[in-house]
């Protein structure tokens, strides 16, 4: 069993598991941090950005792709754990010869589609006048300023996919429900489990009859909108692959939501605007819910909230229809019937308005001071670029970062000098190390495998020994482009036995509750299922003296020696020896059993748990005599 690690980003994992005869890809996250190396793509021509000295506006839509550690066309299935971890799907399904199936839950696919649609829209609506790729030449790259010159494998960076590619990739997905058991080629069974992180987010169980691998990726134990995490089903795992923990282990989401609200209120009260760069789904639902409860108490009822995204409408509406994937409280609301999320009421009362972009209706309705939620959190493309340009000059305004995927300082770099206030309130509801430690104690896997980042404290806080996985045995770590042999051997395989063959068996009880029978059969293996069938009957002698053809030969059935079982009680054995005339017997205890020494006969009988040896010097008679005495204590069948 091997694990090929294609991504070094712990929250955007991409691993391939070879288990029995199947090749399973676990997630295909897209690391977009490389976009931070590029200039923002403004919606309207920005004289400031286009006139920056030295570097002209170039293609800003390149992403890191997977390394060629494994031939991706051999991947049988891809299991998706949440919508953030499927953003690289079109690159794999469309460009690698992949012919397998992708499994994901319905909300994952629908919201994943929205995220991809938004991404494609953000990139495509700002066509580039020119594009440059010569810089990717290693000789030129060397001359570039840091961090671009240190970026690895820039040649593998790709352009953003198109909507056709997205549609084609998504068509390869088969929808699954929680706890549904999916057979893969009869060899393994995969099952998605609720992971509590996002709508439809899943952990996966990959198991055969005797082995169980759990894949935990992006899970949350906090009570937010999704169904709670299913921990019980993760028990008894041989291996637990643990990825997607919180990126901000020192920040408690509740505290951050508090910070978010306080800073938002302070800014708006002073007449400033608040910009929240965010993804169109996920934490935004929780933020809107918090604000719904907060705005009245903070006297912000008259402040407009704008949500601008090409998929804003779909996202808000989708969230309301996936009732079965929501937490219990929200599910019960549906039966009242009420919309599960209160943003419906915010929309109804005109407090929250959503627009596909800043063009069109938005320009007519736009009123300040206001709060704007828009993408992309990297500040490199999307409507957020426009607002950064618009509001960056006033210290009354505030940008509040809630998504932890990008370094906010790097994201802000092209906008400097910036007068607006910047607040970093990363909200990451995924598991923290305390929760992981409790989870591992609860589910007790035999082995834990995780990205190497989780096995040591963060570099900036090397004294924080609490910010790492602490388990016994120590977790196995992996890094990008590494192949890991998972630390367990498959020892058993399930074999079915045909009824008629079973009928012919004559079990013999060798000790209470344990019976044995010898079986002669033909092992038939097809589609990873093994069946014992009765052996073909020996051909009846035809009477003629026709020479048998070799192909007619049945397997040589030799006369089998009887099988022995049981153990030899040393004291009784010694007594028996004495009865049979042996004297001067000595017994020595060894680590594995006993040695009976017949000093007179210069003979040694070594009795161990699974073998008995009679060592005597060329006295076959004596050996046979002793052997028969030994055999008296054993059962034969």
């Amino acid at each position: 069993m091997k694990l090929y690690c294609l991504s070094g980003h712990p929250t955007l994992p991409c691993n391939v598991l070879k288990f029995k005869s199947t090749t399973v890809m676990l997630d295909c996250g897209l690391d977009m941090t490389s976009t931070l190396n590029f200039l923002p793509l403004p919606l309207v021509q920005s004289p400031r950005l286009s006139n920056l000295p030295g570097w002209s506006l170039k293609d800003g839509n390149a992403f890191l792709d997977k390394t060629e550690l494994i031939d991706l066309s051999t991947v049988d299935v891809i299991l998706i754990s949440n919508y953030h971890c499927m953003m690289a799907l079109p690159y794999i399904t469309e460009h690698t010869g992949f012919t397998g199936t992708v499994y994901a839950t319905e909300p994952t696919v629908q919201i994943g589609r929205l995220l991809m649609e938004e991404l494609v829209n953000f990139i495509e609506r700002v066509p580039k006048a020119q594009s440059a790729s010569l810089w990717k030449n290693k000789d030129i790259q060397r001359l570039l300023p840091s961090p671009l010159k240190d970026a690895v494998e820039v040649s593998t960076w790709r352009r953003c996919y198109t909507m056709q590619e997205v549609n084609s990739a998504l068509s390869k997905i088969q929808l699954v429900g929680y706890s549904q058991k999916i057979e893969l080629f009869g060899a393994v069974q995969v099952t998605p489990l609720s992971s509590g992180y996002a709508l439809g987010s899943s952990n996966w169980i990959i198991q055969s009859h005797y082995e169980k691998v759990s894949y935990v990726s992006g899970s949350s134990l906090l009570t937010t909108h999704p169904q709670p995490m299913d921990q019980a089903s993760l028990k008894n795992s041989d291996v637990l692959i643990l990825t997607g923990l919180t990126q901000i282990p020192t920040a408690n989401p509740d505290g951050m939501v508090g910070e978010f609200c306080s800073n938002l209120a302070l800014t708006v009260r002073n007449g400033g605007n608040v910009l929240v760069p965010c993804y169109p789904s996920g934490v935004i639902y929780d933020l809107l819910e918090c604000l719904y409860q907060y705005i009245d108490s903070a006297g912000l009822s008259s402040i407009p909230f704008y949500f601008i995204s090409p998929v804003a409408n779909s996202s808000l509406e989708f969230s309301q229809i996936f009732a079965e994937w929501l937490c219990h409280n929200k599910q019960t609301k549906v039966y009242l019937p009420e919309p599960p999320f209160p943003h419906a009421e915010l929309i109804q009362t005109n407090k929250l308005k959503h627009y596909p972009s800043i063009h069109g209706d938005f320009s007519n309705d736009f009123r300040q001071p206001c709060v704007v939620f828009t993408g992309h959190p990297s500040l490199r493309f999307g409507d957020v670029v426009h607002f950064m340009e618009l509001w960056g000059k006033s210290s009354l305004n505030t940008v509040i970062f809630t998504e932890p995927d990008f370094s906010y300082l790097e994201a802000l770099a092209p906008y400097q000098p910036l007068a607006m206030k910047c607040i970093y309130c990363p909200i990451d509801t995924r598991l923290n190390f305390i929760q992981v430690s409790k989870l591992l104690k609860e589910v007790q896997p035999l082995h834990v495998v995780c990205p190497e980042q989780y096995t040591q404290p963060p570099p900036a806080q090397s004294h924080r020994m609490d910010l790492m996985i602490d388990c016994q045995p120590p977790a196995m770590s992996y890094r990008r482009a590494e192949v890991l042999a998972l630390p367990f051997k498959r020892r058993y395989e399930k074999i079915e036995i045909m009824p008629e063959l079973a009928d012919s068996l004559v079990p013999m009880e060798i000790k209470p509750g344990v019976s044995l029978a010898t079986v002669s059969a033909v092992l038939h293996t097809k589609d990873n299922k093994h069946v014992l069938q009765p052996p073909p009957r020996p051909a009846q002698p035809t009477g003629g003296k026709k020479r048998k053809r070799a192909s007619d030969d049945i397997p040589d059935c030799k006369v089998l020696k009887p099988l022995l079982s049981g153990s030899i009680p040393v004291d009784q054995f010694v007594q028996t020896l004495e009865k049979h005339g042996f004297s001067d017997i000595k017994v020595e205890d060894t680590a594995k059993g006993h040695i009976v020494l017949l000093q007179e006969a210069e003979t040694l009988i070594q009795i161990e748990e699974d073998s008995t040896h009679i060592i005597c010097d060329n006295d076959e008679m004596l050996r046979v005599r002793l052997r028969d005495l030994v055999l008296k204590f054993l059962q034969k069948f």
Binding site: T250, A251, N252, G255, M256, V257, G258, E259, C261, S262, N263, A265, L266, R269, N270, C290, Q293, Y294, D296, S297, A298, G299, C425, I434, Q461, S462, H463, R464, M465, D466
Partner: protein, 735 residues
């Protein structure tokens, strides 16, 4: 039969804990005379009490223990007994039996039995003052000392209680060996168990210095270990004068999170309790303790990077631990009473600011951080000569106010509430200091505070009322709207608070408004002083209708302040005899009244009181269904009568029809029909009514506890008669 299997013990009712408790109560009432002892001993009651010590109901078990102590005390308290010899032979049989039972229990291997015995002894030494207790200790101390030889020491909590109880009694004066036992116990118990004993020893008035040093060392050990573990480099001698931390304490700190948290919290709490006591150890290691508190807080927030392995483990255990944070902040607050080196104080302010700013601080931690900050700010030195905040504190305030501003916008109401409480206290104490005023007025805090009057959470609204009231008292709420109309903003606050008083659906904000108004009236707040009569009339009108008794009671408090200002303070009997207070705030009514013509003054005052309808309010309150309101009203009217009586009434109106109708109305009110208004009252009628009501009698009735009727002999008699069922026939016999 009261005792034994055939008595209540065998009955089904005995299974009810209330019955067993009542039985013990009954015995306790019975056992008031030494002759009762013979009866109790003879009928086997003492054995039953022994068995009840282990009762499943804690109340019963505790009452049984106390009853044993009572019986023992009664037995030993004979007039002839002085100091008893430890020999059992000359003890009364009943006492002997109990002491033998205690001895057996102390030798028992079952911890619950040992605990029972120790608890009984603790009560004996805590409550019995007879000399015989010294003899008892001499007899039992070897058994107690033997408990220390066991590992682990059984019932350590109770043992500590007992030893402290003995140490506080008269025993130490006769038995110096006790100090030795205490020292042994300190060294035998685990660091966590020894903490309370160490604290108790240090609180003792008179105890050997060596023992005090040992006890103080135990309290300091955990913090010394923390300091040692977190030290970047070997620093100056710490808490223990450079000695290394006790390995046992260090082991406890590192063995598990719960042990570490428990030990640290205990140490911090104990040291915090010790700090303000006059008998605290001297020299008090203020600077190292400050350092330790700051280090603990930094370890909890993860902002310190210890280099040592132990420090790293400690950091992993403590990081984010709210319990330790709360205890350390409380301790840090307590340390504000002592001075510290400049560097330490800077660190204190920086760690407090860190906690106040951190989004990770929970609401409880924030509350404690605010409280500690307040204590440090109030204890910070003033600039010599000008009683203003020193420059460092001002700098801190400038950093603090934006944080406070943010906290007042927190979505968590507890945080908003703590922020407001902090602001109120800070303003109360520093409202007159220029540095504070300047910093506060430059911030948006006053404006935000005012907005919080509309908060959806009633506790926050109440705190906002108190805070705005305080800010307004110091003219800090907002700058005047225009130079022509100074105070326009403040006036609107008065209206706003009156609105809260009339319209808020919750009691807390309304109570807060009443307190603010009372304070304003007392201090001569500018808005109130403009027209106090109108102010009082409006407030009393609102308060009289309030469904919350505390609001009504506070209304009476305000009325009393008003009376005081009109008629002179309590204690002086007649306004005719005393000059009106010259120090009264400018603009109060007292000053407005003509100082001459004293009888006229009283008449005027009464007129004013009638106009503001104070009497209607007070008379209604007199028959209020809530006893505290009625009591307060009674006090107020008595005060008024006392003030007015010696001077005579300007106009006797005892027989006027007005008085009769008032009395009739009052009678109806007393009967519970409070619907009818009193109408306008003439001062004369009021005085007549006041004289006719038996206010003293009413006061005495109200002073009785609410269950006095049920407990009175008359009630008992009625119960008995009711039980017999033929009230009429037996009445005469019973009497």
């Amino acid at each position: 039969m009261l005792f034994g299997e055939v008595g209540p013990l065998g009955g089904a009712a005995w299974t009810a804990p209330a019955v067993r408790s009542g039985w013990i109560q009954g015995l306790r009432t019975l056992a008031q005379h030494p002759s009762a002892l013979r009866f109790l001993a003879a009928c086997g009651a003492v054995d039953t009490i022994f068995s009840l010590q282990g009762d499943s109901s804690l109340f019963v078990a505790s009452a049984a223990g106390q009853l044993l102590v009572h019986i023992l005390d009664l037995a030993m308290r004979g007039p002839a007994r002085g100091r008893c010899s430890p020999q059992a032979c000359d003890w009364p049989a009943c006492a002997q039996k109990i002491v033998c039972h205690i001895e057996d229990s102390l030798c028992s291997i079952a911890t619950p039995q040992v605990t029972q015995a120790l608890n009984v002894l603790t009560t004996v030494f805590g409550h019995c003052r007879g000399l015989w207790t010294q003899g008892l200790w001499v007899r039992l101390s070897p058994l107690v000392a033997r408990l220390l030889e066991k590992d682990p020491v059984p019932a350590s909590h109770s043992l500590v209680d007992l030893l402290l109880s003995v140490a506080r009694s008269s025993v130490p004066s006769s038995d110096r060996g006790l100090w030795e036992t205490l020292a042994q116990t300190l060294s035998h118990l685990s660091p966590t168990q020894a903490g309370p004993l160490a604290l108790g020893i240090l609180k003792l008035q008179d105890c050997p210095q060596a023992l005090r040093t040992q006890a103080f060392g135990i309290l300091l050990q955990p913090l010394a270990c923390v300091l040692e573990a977190a030290a970047q480099a070997p620093g100056p001698p710490g808490l223990l004068g450079g000695a290394a931390g006790d390995p046992m304490t260090a082991d406890t700190l590192l063995c598990s999170k719960s042990a570490c948290v428990g030990l640290l919290c205990c140490a911090l709490t104990h040291l915090g309790l010790l700090q303000p006591l006059p008998q605290r150890p001297s020299p008090w290691p203020q600077a190292p303790l400050l350092g330790a508190a700051v280090t603990v807080l930094r370890l909890c927030s993860g902002s310190v990077a210890p280099t040592s392995d132990v420090g790293g483990r400690l950091c992993a255990i403590l990081v984010g631990c709210g319990r330790v944070q709360r205890a350390a902040l409380d301790f840090l607050g307590a340390l504000s009473q002592g001075a510290g080196p400049q560097e330490s104080v800077t660190q204190v302010f920086s760690v407090l600011l860190e906690y106040l700013m951190s989004p990770e601080s929970s609401s409880m931690v924030l509350k404690k951080a605010f409280q500690a900050t307040l204590r440090w700010l109030l204890s910070s030195p003033k600039t010599p000569g000008c009683c203003d905040l020193d420059p460092r504190t001002q700098l801190f305030l400038r950093e603090l106010l934006p944080v406070l501003q943010k906290r007042l916008c927190s979505p968590c109401w507890e945080v908003r509430d703590s922020g407001l409480e902090f602001l109120t206290q800070m303003t109360r104490h520093c409202g007159g200091q220029a540095g504070f005023r300047q910093a506060l007025l430059a911030s948006e805090v006053p404006e935000l505070t005012k907005q919080l009057l509309q908060d959806p959470e009633s506790y926050v609204r109440a705190s906002a009322v108190t805070a705005t009231g305080q800010l307004s008292s110091w003219a800090l709420l907002a700058a005047p709207a225009s130079p022509e109309r100074p105070g326009a903003q403040q006036k609107s606050l008065l209206v706003e608070l009156l609105h809260v008083l009339c319209a808020d659906s919750e009691g807390f904000p309304r109570r807060a408004v009443m307190q603010v108004f009372t304070e304003w009236l007392r201090d001569g707040h500018a808005d109130v002083a403009e027209d106090p009569e109108r102010f009082v009339a409006r407030v009393l009108q609102a308060a009289s209708r309030d469904p919350d008794w505390e609001v009504r009671a506070q209304g009476l408090e305000l009325a009393l302040v008003f009376l005081g200002q009109l008629l002179g303070p309590r204690g002086s009997h007649c306004p005719c005899a005393v000059a009106l207070p010259e120090t009264a705030p400018p603009g109060t009514l007292a000053q407005a009244l003509p100082e001459a013509a004293p009888p006229g003054t009283l008449a005027q005052a009464l007129q004013v009181l009638c106009r503001v309808q104070l009497f209607e309010f007070a008379f209604r309150a007199l028959f209020d269904c809530d006893r505290p309101v009625a009591q307060k009203s009674c006090d107020l009217l008595l005060f008024l009568r006392a003030k007015a009586a010696p001077c005579g009434s300007p106009q006797e109106a005892g027989d006027s029809p007005n008085v009769a109708s008032v009395e009739a109305t009052l009678q109806r009110w007393q009967a519970g029909e409070q619907g009818q208004p009193l109408g306008y009252l003439e001062p004369g009628a009021v005085m007549a009514v006041l004289r006719s009501i038996d206010l003293e009698g009413l006061r005495d009735t109200l002073a009785e506890s609410s269950d006095h009727v049920e407990k009175s002999p008359q009630s008992l008699l009625q119960d008995m008669l009711a039980a017999v069922g033929v009230l009429g026939e037996n009445e005469a016999d019973c009497y």
